[in-house]
Point group: C2
DNA sequence: TTATTAGTCCATAAACTTGGTAGGCTATCA
DNA sequence: TGATAGCCTACCAAGTTTATGGACTAATAA
């Protein structure tokens, strides 16, 4: 399951995608419109900024905005950043790989199955962007 | 990601699947062979028993064993039992459904995408059984 | 019936994660 | 320079995960 933090992140990013080109959006506006706890949202947006997904402007007329066009930001990127691995096991993760202890990856039915699951999931989330979240 | 508990459950169930028809297997044997903390494994097996996946026998010659043939136990059943929802969002879960607050499920891009992910995952885990985990 | 075996139950706890709050600091702009 | 709005640091309550220890109970064999 995606954490609440991830769900908040997606809501905020969807909102910012809709407002793309309308200039900076206040944290407080996003929080109010999307019903996200203000300070928690603050830390999420900051994290997204540090990951170069968002940019911000301080002072009057400031706020947050997407650094790139919505269609340039893959859903998989956001999941990995905020939620963590997409795979169900560390030993089949591409970005968070960890070797299995006491389990031969070459001869493990679970391993093989989880690779299938991973690829099925990736075929979707690697090919969707923030633009696809706007309806 | 699957919890460690889930990984232990799968390891134990795979072992019991291999030993199916060889009679009850000791907890301690499974723990030793699969390097699982004994007492933790104990509680996992008990949970699987309460869910009618396993059965057990006390006393000499006792132990745990599968209640049905390995090919009768779906992987999805185990994941849901030990790990929880398979879907990435409560609002797209079949077995753990919860309505989205402040989010119209009829018009939500994230929702639609996560249904796709769920179905892609289910198409695999609903069609694999413990038998498929033996290599 | 008694000793042994092996699962069952209950209580506890450390470590980690999640979700969230408080408040001061700093950059920007009018 | 004063208001605005994001930045930063610290903290924390609650829940979950991953265990561990010990007493209890059922089954079996001698």
């Amino acid at each position: 399951m995606l954490s609440k933090k991830s769900q908040y992140a997606f809501k905020a990013l969807t909102y910012l995608s809709e407002k793309y080109k309308e200039g900076p959006v206040l944290i407080s506006e996003i929080a109010a419109k999307k019903k996200i706890p203000l300070k928690f949202l603050e830390s999420i947006l900051l994290e997204l900024k540090r990951a170069d997904i968002l940019d911000s402007k301080k002072g009057k007329g400031g706020g947050y905005f997407l650094k790139q066009k919505p269609e340039k930001v893959k859903v998989s990127t956001i999941i990995r950043l905020i939620n963590g691995p997409i795979a169900m096991l560390p030993c089949v993760s591409l970005y968070f790989y960890e070797r299995c202890k006491n389990c031969n990856e070459k001869h493990c039915g679970l391993h093989d199955m989880m690779i299938e699951v991973r690829d099925a999931t990736l075929s979707i989330v690697e090919n969707r962007t923030l633009k696809d979240l706007i309806v």
